[in-house]
Symmetry: D2
Subunit: 155 residues, 4 copies
Amino acid sequence: MSTDKRRFPSLMSYHVYPRRVAYYETDAMGVLHHSNHVRFFEEARVALLRDRGWMEIHQPAGPYVFAVTEQSARYFKPAVFDEALEIWTQMRRVGARLEFQYALFSQASQTVIAAGGTRLVPIDTSFRVAKLPASFLEAVDRESWDEAWPPKPQV
Amino acid sequence: MSTDKRRFPSLMSYHVYPRRVAYYETDAMGVLHHSNHVRFFEEARVALLRDRGWMEIHQPAGPYVFAVTEQSARYFKPAVFDEALEIWTQMRRVGARLEFQYALFSQASQTVIAAGGTRLVPIDTSFRVAKLPASFLEAVDRESWDEAWPPKPQV
Amino acid sequence: MSTDKRRFPSLMSYHVYPRRVAYYETDAMGVLHHSNHVRFFEEARVALLRDRGWMEIHQPAGPYVFAVTEQSARYFKPAVFDEALEIWTQMRRVGARLEFQYALFSQASQTVIAAGGTRLVPIDTSFRVAKLPASFLEAVDRESWDEAWPPKPQV
Amino acid sequence: MSTDKRRFPSLMSYHVYPRRVAYYETDAMGVLHHSNHVRFFEEARVALLRDRGWMEIHQPAGPYVFAVTEQSARYFKPAVFDEALEIWTQMRRVGARLEFQYALFSQASQTVIAAGGTRLVPIDTSFRVAKLPASFLEAVDRESWDEAWPPKPQV
């Protein structure tokens, strides 16, 4: 079952990354442990960069890497073992900083089960703030960003 | 080397949990991965409950468990493999909800390297909001809570 | 780039599960931490069960769950951040026990970078050894199992 | 409750590392996930090196690091959330390689719940096998190694 594209207002305005809940990511309550949402958000962030062709700026051995300066998440519903999820991601630039926001969508319940955000600064290998290429920043400025987040299904 | 108690204004007002950075918790930048701070915060939260004698209310097989509804963290400095850290924790009650705030302190650099917070609701095994025992809530109300967070060293 | 099917003798005799290395799975040496191979093996095992239609026997809330009684891994080469891997899996039945063996293949280097195995016993929710359905066991007996493992490319 | 030293034949011949099971390390069966034993073994290995004063040879930025070439574990009993465990560790040298063996002991049940082993080779930052200092190797040769493993309580 894939995401019902009709129920969300602007599905194409965000990047969609599919992910199932692994067994080792559940906890003794039988649900996805809240620290793993943070990891799913990172996977979704990397998948967006990869799909946009921007992975050369996110390499441990490269000139830049992104340091997370802030992250947060809100948890609305539990997710269970092997549940098919999607992480919807948007990004924007705020000065030298990059911001990402995420919504974790459950295909089974057709609801948003968590939402979150991350702020990152590009740093060089000496942990100093680095200047990103202008072409990359211009491309980021063409990404979508919804002020109301997470997106709500249209009933 | 232990925490220099003179440099912080009210050390005894928070719970202190020591933790070293494990090798598997570092990432390709050579530093503690930002998702692990969230896990350290949980360990510190559990250690506080254990040290206060409140673990019977946090058992997977018991009548209550705490569901995280919100968490956030700010990252100021990196931590490296085997670095000796301390997590300082405070908790308070806000209605039926519990709130925790944390500061991650590095013994080597004598600085706060990260800070964060968690909001939890007590739920029963059917994921319904549960009422906590009055004696527990009264004890929580005697815990310290600093509005300014993280605490700053007094130079 | 997909697996070059001509170079391996009997590719169709094992289940193939694709997986990229996440950033949080690397360590301070810049490579996939050795504990994560064990987790990748579990994901591959679950993917095999799911693809065969056997997931109803691997549910935390169901009558059976599989307890790992033994696992091992050999590590031949490092894997790096975002590297596209495949986990090749075979399973067999040995009495009441299930055995899985895995090879971790790198698409970039076209080599097997790790191999491992897991032994599991089906248990019920009281942690007692459970008897699996005959139809499932018969189906497992039709799975392939190579005594020489991991498979070697034919040059 | 501490380990009953009388019940084990040669307790002083191995290094003891205490560790509680964190909530995020449990899984949907309510027990410590089998991949985390591998991580506990690594923590115990590092604690042994630290306590012996050998940490300068295990630094990501240093001349040597240890690559795991093989690991295995056998699982006898489950461990649960917040259970107080001890990891008992021995090490020896086999040529250029180091070997560690571990037993995971539960204070509550006074039993060994898992055992395992790791083989490592010292490598330099280019992933080439490195020669360890003679003084270190001589010290390792004075470590205890029991052929029968895990140790059995004397009733």
